[in-house]
Symmetry: C2
Subunit: 258 residues, 2 copies
């Protein structure tokens, strides 16, 4: 059954979608834009972009100095609505801090969204990756420990759909790009209940992840610890990190309300 075009769907509110597109058009590289720039970036007419921007200003999601527009912190409330609705979110954070106290390495929690993982909680220690990571950051699922953990927890049909859509790109010379090998890796994750990824996302980055599940054993999120290859051997990750990680994941899982 073909998907009806959004514009033909009588239950579709395109003004909402267009307004959200305006919000999303701001970024690190475009922290502030003029009206004309927003219209250009979003493909809207100047008049339409202007109405959305003025509406966002009026509702305090954005501000303007009369020429340039920028987002305001109220936009974070939208994301926070999502974070605070995650069942494990509140209980995960102290447990993650315990992990960091014991292992002295960064600990993160992520969920799967499309082809990516999205960070929903993070206790960072020393920087391991070249880019800063934070709540809201996205990374590809196929070459990250949390991503493979989450993929391993998908029902078979959804995992098959993922394989159909994903475009594997080599991120380092160690990235698994062969689909058969990737499927094997994910199947291994599923069987052993944890995942170790060594410098496939970025050289130097090693991380190990375990699933957070609900009472029906559905994988809700993945918890990881990440380190630098110069600091921690694979063997140490398995012998020292893994028990702490599995215990933490289990404690978070146990605390998820029904």
């Amino acid at each position: 059954m073909t998907k009806v075009q959004a514009s033909e769907d009588k239950d579709y509110v395109q003004s909402l979608v267009r307004g959200l597109e305006v919000i999303r058009t701001f970024s690190r590289y475009k922290p502030r834009m003029t009206l004309t720039e927003v219209a250009q970036q979003t493909g809207m007419t100047r008049a339409a972009a202007r109405r959305f921007l003025l509406t966002l200003v009026r509702e305090e999601y954005a501000e303007t100095d009369g020429k340039y527009f920028a987002l305001r912190p109220k936009v974070l409330d939208l994301g926070f609505a999502y974070l605070s609705s995650l069942p494990m979110w509140e209980v995960a954070q102290p447990i993650m801090r315990d992990v960091v106290n014991v292992l002295q390495e960064s600990c993160s929690l992520a969920v799967l969204d499309g082809l990516d993982i999205v960070y929903v909680a993070r206790v960072p220690t020393e920087r391991v990756m070249t880019i800063g990571l934070s709540i809201g950051s996205r990374l590809p699922a196929y070459c990250s420990s949390m991503g493979r953990t989450l993929l391993a927890g998908l029902p078979p049909a959804e995992l098959a759909a993922y394989y159909d859509r994903v475009k594997i790109e080599r991120r380092t010379e160690r990235t698994v790009t062969n689909m058969v090998a990737l499927k094997d890796a994910i199947e291994t994750s599923r069987r052993q209940g944890w995942t170790l990824v060594d410098q496939e996302l970025e050289m130097g980055l090693r991380s190990i992840a375990a699933p957070v599940k609900n009472r029906r054993s559905e994988v809700l999120a993945a918890l990881n610890v990440s380190t630098h290859e110069g600091r921690t051997s694979i063997e140490t990750m398995k012998t020292r990190f893994l028990p702490v990680l599995l215990d933490a994941a289990q404690r978070i899982s146990a605390a998820v309300p029904q």
Copy 2:
């Protein structure tokens, strides 16, 4: 000059605003809702709420199991658009981790939004407050160290407007609730360039904050370190924490692009 009612403003896109209201209606206490519940919570007709929910589902900001609706991680992209547009955001995080490494206490960065501070970055250590704090969390400005720092950095007219609007509520028996005393405290913050708040927001919580400024000396954000009163004396905060905090705030300020 009176403010025109939104509904009379021809440049106002109320479908966008209503859609954002639907997103905001989800929370820790209502992580998933039926159509009827969303309509009741937002005051919309069932048909209108239904169109917004189906639009959010179609655009992958929300999901449904056929009866209950819940937000999806894509909503975090909206907040992330704001975070990534903050000039000091990228550089602040490694500096904050340095602070935590040295002091072994939580470090946070916040901005002022209305009467609240909003957390935009955080490196947590041991939990100090009873509620978990994260990016997107809000706290009142008048009784927090970062809040007073940010208030101290406001232009006089804006600070006066803040005093007119704020409703002071005693949070602990130590909360400064006298407006004269509060103004003195904020003036002291302004003069000395840092702020220490001791158990006014919550018993046991001590925190010290310093401003992050741009090249024009405008206060953009506040950086803090927080601890528990049982763990750290006021004297130690001044002699050990403050130099590290001021240095970190200075480094972040220096790294803010023009």
